[in-house]
Amino acid sequence: MIEVQQITKRYGQHTALDRISFSVAKGEVLAFLGPNGAGKTTTMRILTCFMPATEGTARVAGFDCAEQPLEVKRRIGYLPETPPVYQELTVTEYLQFVGRLRGLSGKVLTASIHREVERLGLGTVQRRLIGNLSRGYRQRVGLAQALLHDPPILILDEPTVGLDPKQIIEIRELIKNLAGSHSVILSTHILPEATAVCQRVVIISGGRIVAEDTPDQLSARLRQSEKISLILKAPAADTLSRLKSVQGVQNVFSGGDSGAFLLECELGRDVREEVARVAVTNGWGLLELKAISMTLEDVFLQLTRHEEGLTPDAVSASVESAGQPV
């Protein structure tokens, strides 16, 4: 449904997006993950034909964003970062306006408004001015706006911002239910959200895609080995080789003069006891020994901190360095 090829976006000297390519299949939910200023919003603005790309092509539902923007816009429901609401209108008036802009009228319009009001729980506020509603309700009105014409493609820029935990769960459920019949791209900087609702995650940083995989596989990559951090007061010259010879240890990285070591071990094998014994018998001065649990969060931070020279292949390399005591 969405096909993005080698898109670059420059604002003067600043490159916001650097040759981004990805695609979204019909019925798939894709999460855009990245820190602020990574290029998430820019990508979405290009897909919704709000702004043109400097280079590269984006195709939505078979239509080129640059050449047939109206056809693209008809098939997209878009929720920008700030819910695009008019404060002086009531919820119903606003949805009527939105529907008319998208060519809905009469009974279809009324039915669509009714459906979204029900779906997003706006029944009690539909006659109130949007200017008087709380942030959470405005966000829901924004979502109702995006869904109103039942578009096959939804582009949601941080859809759960400003909602309370209960509402967040509801919205995530809603997005999950939309999957299958709708293609959804959503951006977020909340990792659990990406894992909870998305089939695929694109991690974007500094205008580049640094990793792209399913949430499961991303975590699987992390769980290729268990990691242990070790700090010694007085490591000897043979410490590295001795540690390597401990059964179950696959790899040892030295942190240099700091006395810090990172041990990679076989899955499901706790070597801490053995390592502690070796350290004590050799008199290395054991200061710290702990297991490192790698979460998606760590990878994310690591990936997005090292902006230069990272490709999806480099994920495992950076995962390794992620364990390095800093």
Partner: protein, 255 residues
Amino acid sequence: MTPVQAIIAKELRSYFVSPVVYVVGSVFLLIAGLLGYLYVVFAGAQAIQLMQMQGSAQLNLNDLVFRNLFASMRFILLIVLPILTMRLFAEERKLRTFEFLLTSPIGINEIVAGKFMSVFLVFLSLLGLTGLMPLMLALFSDFDWYPVLTGYLGLVLLGALFLSVGVLASALTENQIVAAFVSIGLLLVLWLLSGLGSLLGDTAIGQAVSYLSFMEHFDHLVRGLIDTKDLVYFVSSLALMLFLSHRVVDSARWK
């Protein structure tokens, strides 16, 4: 309802739930009414003078009241209409609804047309209310309706031009105050071009510069002259302003 009608309806709704239209409308009607009253009083005073000198007086209300009134309205509109237009695009940009509007499946020309039409309707209804003045005068006196009607045509065309300049200014910025001042500034420059034109005298450049100003075109209509040249001026400058607004809105996407 077509998208353009939807935009017009929404904009009218926004105008009438905010105090802007009421405040601006009252000020406009108050000043126009006050000036109208003063011109009538002056005309009356002149009539009394003439009566004392000649024993009878033929008053020309067209010259004494309406021409003065239309000339004054020109200036009131220059101040008032930018206040009406300033919010049209600036507010959308400030409140981040601009992106929503531009990602809706409608053309930019429809957006510009809808916004312009809405404020034009507001202006027409305000101007229509000033029509009470000639109607009331007609009850008590005799005057020639033809130049009054062409004068109103002139005001409608002039107002449309002012509004289109305001739409353009509003598209240029996200600050409403800046938008209002930019359009007042542009309109004053257009106004003063006629002075510059007469300074340059009866040369080709002088005539071209005066032609650019709305002053002589409006004056013709107020005097009861309907000239195609003047109509072409108003229609083409209106079209140019709306076209420029379209380009500005379009280019705002690139930033």
